[in-house]
């Protein structure tokens, strides 16, 4: 039993009739253990990943051929709204907070988060937000008429959200669910910041924090700044809809552009809130599998801080076609281009970390390699879009859809998969299957490139986004068909992954506490870690405490 996972233990005991199901559920529902909360976040996010993935597949089937009648326009519009909203708010953020919850205390040698009960509250209110969003499918005309699911897009531009243009409750479901999950997000961010600042073990100075912890710290600070405007805008929108305020109601003189500012002041940092944790995973995994220390630790920290700051001042690059005038546009072009400098520094440092190493291509590492190439391309198409004249052509076209999916899937999802394979042995005590992992990687990689490489083309040929169908004869058919086929490969890859997750839980090789020969503190506890994390609070002398233990002849602390 020593190496069983907490999940499996629970299953075994319930099956053997030792513990009633109710008791197990009760234990998880009332837990304040950061590891269990982290796992629940991840579980929730995986469910939403599957749901939003199904929504994406339905859309791709609809668009695979021109003039398709598979899905009605109303349902299609609901699908892309729900897909975007779910992926950003109920997949991306929870999964990042899941990993943060699980790893941050372990990596800094703490016993739990600073505020365990706030932590549980944050999880449950976020989960409730997600539930509320999907509950909308049961409203109004019910599931087959697709109910009153929101259909205003994940960006919910005014005045389409005003009562006149969006009667019924669909938009209210959207607003309230994000309002709730926003509260949870702020709570968790507060927890991560406090934990990192106050609960580090002896010897863990700020400049010895694992980079992952640094990145979660900065992400959490960005959450404070970004979620505020979103929450404010949600409240204003609700006032518009229910007591006739006119913030965004253009029929009564309100401003549509005001909403865009509010939304993107949140929306742009949000992109970095999602991508920084992906960087965080890569920062931990690449060095271990290259067998080298991360190159330029201080520069990596500085670049992250810089990205945090600059990302707060680029929002209007989503608004180049709004007619802000030359001065405004020029400023935002500059800010947007500048952010590529710290981002570039990160890529160069990863390259330098690999350089001269001994690279082991285990599954976590190959996903990181996919990440590196795809993120490079995403960054470069991003620079192209940041040049406003390009953007005047390509914004709101499939080129943009391709660009940001390169970031969201090519970078973030690849890094997430890497993280799953890397930390799974810590969490469950068992390894995931390498064979299935490689199948997963190759299928997903091929699918990803078929889908998102070829999606740039219809964008260049004038295909706008958010359309439920298109006419034949504009040169878009073939590309959309290829894109659809790619999506199927991605599904098969993901099925391999899910199967691997479940199978390895029972059949995986026993991992031991440090299967990757890694260097950070979480690998110093048993797998899975006991509820108190560390029997004795650790003391560290460098950024790589386990390196010091393994190489007493050449300790890291000499070089810092």
């Amino acid at each position: 039993m020593a190496n069983a996972t907490p999940v499996m233990e629970a299953i075994d005991e319930t099956l053997a009739g030792k513990r009633p199901v109710f008791e197990v559920v009760y234990e998880w529902a009332t837990t304040v253990d950061h590891k269990k909360i982290g796992l629940m976040y991840i579980f929730l996010a995986l469910i939403f990943l599957i749901v939003a993935g199904i929504e994406a597949i339905l859309m791709r089937i609809q668009l695979a051929v021109p003039n398709n009648h598979f899905i009605s326009p109303q349902v299609f519009n609901q699908l892309f709204t729900m897909h975007g909203t779910t992926m950003v708010f109920f997949m991306g953020m929870p999964i990042l907070f899941g990993f943060g919850n699980y790893l941050v205390p372990l990596m800094i040698g703490a016993r739990d988060m600073a505020f365990p009960r706030l932590n549980a509250f944050s999880f449950w209110i976020s989960a409730f937000g997600g539930l509320l969003l999907y509950f909308s499918y049961f409203g109004a005309s019910g599931l087959y008429g697709a109910g009153s699911a929101p259909d205003v897009g994940w960006f919910a531009y005014a005045p389409l959200t005003a009562k006149v243009f969006s009667p019924g409750h669909s938009t209210d479901y959207w607003t309230l669910s994000l309002l709730l999950s926003g509260i949870g997000t702020i709570g968790t961010a507060l927890n991560i910041v406090t934990t990192t600042i106050c609960m580090r073990c002896r010897g863990m100075t700020m400049m010895r924090l694992p980079l992952l912890v640094w990145l979660f710290l900065i992400t959490s600070c960005m959450v404070f700044i970004a979620i505020g405007p979103l929450t404010a805008a949600q409240i204003m929108l609700t006032l518009d809809r229910y007591i006739g305020a006119h913030f965004f109601d253009t029929q009564a003189g309100g401003s549509a552009v005001l909403w865009m500012h509010y939304f993107w002041i949140f929306g742009h940092p949000e992109v970095y809130i999602l991508v920084l944790p992906a960087f965080a995973f890569v920062n931990e995994i690449v060095p271990v599998f290259s067998r080298k220390a991360i190159f330029g630790y201080p520069a990596m920290v500085a670049a992250t801080v810089a990205i945090g700051f600059i990302s707060l001042s680029v929002w209007a690059h989503h608004m180049f076609t709004v007619g802000l005038g030359a001065a405004g546009n020029t400023f935002f072009v500059f800010a947007t281009m500048v952010i590529s400098v710290p981002t570039g520094i990160k890529i160069f440092n990863w390259l330098a970390t690999i350089w001269g190493g001994k690279i082991h291509f285990a599954t976590p590492m190959i996903f990181c390699v996919g990440f590196l190439f795809q993120f490079l391309i995403a960054g470069l198409t991003g620079i192209m879009l940041s040049a406003a004249p390009f953007d005047w052509q390509l914004s709101a076209s499939y080129f943009v859809v391709a660009h940001f999916h390169y970031v969201l899937v090519g970078a973030i999802v690849f890094a997430l998969f890497a993280a799953f394979y890397y930390w799974y042995p810590k969490v469950t005590g068992r390894m995931m299957s390498e064979t299935l992992g490689k199948w997963h990687f190759w299928l997903f990689l091929i699918g990803f490139h078929l889908t998102f490489d070829f999606m740039h083309v219809p964008g260049l040929l004038g295909m706008p986004r958010r359309i439920y169908t298109y006419e034949a004869g504009r040169g878009w058919e073939m590309w959309n068909l290829i894109v659809g086929i790619g999506a199927i490969f991605q599904v098969v890859g993901t099925v391999c992954f899910i199967f691997n997750l479940i199978r390895s839980c029972f059949r995986g090789e026993i991992a031991g506490h440090d299967p990757w020969d890694a260097w950070t503190l979480e690998w110093a506890t048993p797998s899975p870690p006991p509820s108190y994390n560390f029997a004795i609070e650790p003391t560290v002398h460098s950024r790589r405490p386990l390196w010091d233990l393994k190489h007493p002849e050449d300790p890291d602390s000499d070089y810092e």
Binding site: K292, A299, T321, M337, V341, L376, Y470
Partner: protein, 299 residues
């Protein structure tokens, strides 16, 4: 172009180095178990790959800024044609104030030759939610936002039909808010304007079906939403029908303008364009034929 070549070369260099490193430094089974030498960083290298990208960014920025400011500074030649574009859910309204012409869904503009330019100056706004005007081969896109006037230039040199469509999600039928721009030689354009200026209430007496259709039209809800110049129909919620028969398509592009389609459209617009804001008009078969007979006379 500068942007393209710079990004492409960055991709080749960084991508190439990455690929090289991955192959050159992969772990071989013959390797010893010793860890490779640990390198923690280098201030010089770090500085180099901060400063060089900054220089590239500044260069890119300056070239972009020149284009933006250049676009903004073009002054309006007196020969320019003014057109007001109003976006509606889910169709386009075009007004030519100088000629007193109002039309819908199909924009006609003159071509201009560089020696004697006659560019078209579009003043754009929206009657309901935000839309975006995008004809890729003519210009970039520009949003149409309620309570706000945005402007942009188009200046086609080749005559022909340019296709585009609304690029800002605007509700159920965003997908079928298509754009058709007909660029015509100045002579053809002048002829088109002449024809659009003609009154539509020509003599129908020889065409009894049309006379009857006109009566049906004027006595139904049609006139609440549609205009036919010279009659009591002055509705503004739907497209102006004054010269409907001179257009190639219906409902903003997706439907060919044939008598058969017209009939189907009027009896059930939502089956042809689900989500369109025109209600089904419950006319008897006879009235429907008559209305259609009337509409096809509106050249």
């Amino acid at each position: 172009m500068l942007v393209l070549s710079i990004t492409a070369s960055i991709f080749l260099i960084v991508g190439g180095l990455l690929l090289y490193a991955l192959i050159r430094f992969r772990h071989r089974s013959t390797d010893s178990d010793r860890e490779p030498p640990q390198i923690y960083g280098s201030d010089q290298i770090e500085l180099a790959w901060t400063v060089i990208p900054i220089l590239i960014v500044v260069m890119l920025f300056l070239s972009t800024a020149r284009v933006i400011l250049g676009t903004e500074r073009i002054s309006k030649p007196t020969s320019a044609l003014d057109v007001t574009v109003i976006g509606h859910q889910f169709w386009w309204e075009y007004r030519y104030p100088k000629f007193g012409v109002v039309t819908a869904n199909e924009l006609h503009v003159p071509t201009s030759d560089p020696g004697n330019p006659t560019p078209t100056y579009l003043k754009m706004s929206s009657a309901d939610v935000s839309h975006s005007f995008w004809v890729p081969r003519l210009a970039g896109k520009m949003d149409l936002i309620p309570n706000r006037v945005n402007t942009m230039w188009i200046d086609p040199e080749q005559p022909g039909l340019y296709l585009g469509q609304c690029a800002q999600y605007c509700g159920t039928q965003h997908a079928k808010m298509l754009l058709r721009v007909y660029a015509q030689t100045p002579e053809d354009f002048a002829a088109w304007i002449k024809q659009q200026q003609k009154s539509a209430s020509q003599d129908l007496s020889s065409n009894t079906a049309a006379v009857e259709g006109q009566t049906v039209f004027l006595h139904n809800a049609c006139i609440n939403c549609h205009t036919v110049a010279g009659t009591i129909a002055t509705g503004r919620f739907g497209p102006d029908l004054t010269h409907l028969a001179s257009r190639d398509t219906l409902a903003s592009g997706p439907i060919q303008n044939t008598p058969e389609n017209l009939k189907n459209w009027i009896s059930d617009p939502n089956s042809m364009k689900p989500g369109a804001l025109m209600p089904s008009m419950h006319l008897s078969g006879h009235d429907l034929d008559a209305v259609t007979a009337y509409l096809i006379t509106l050249h």
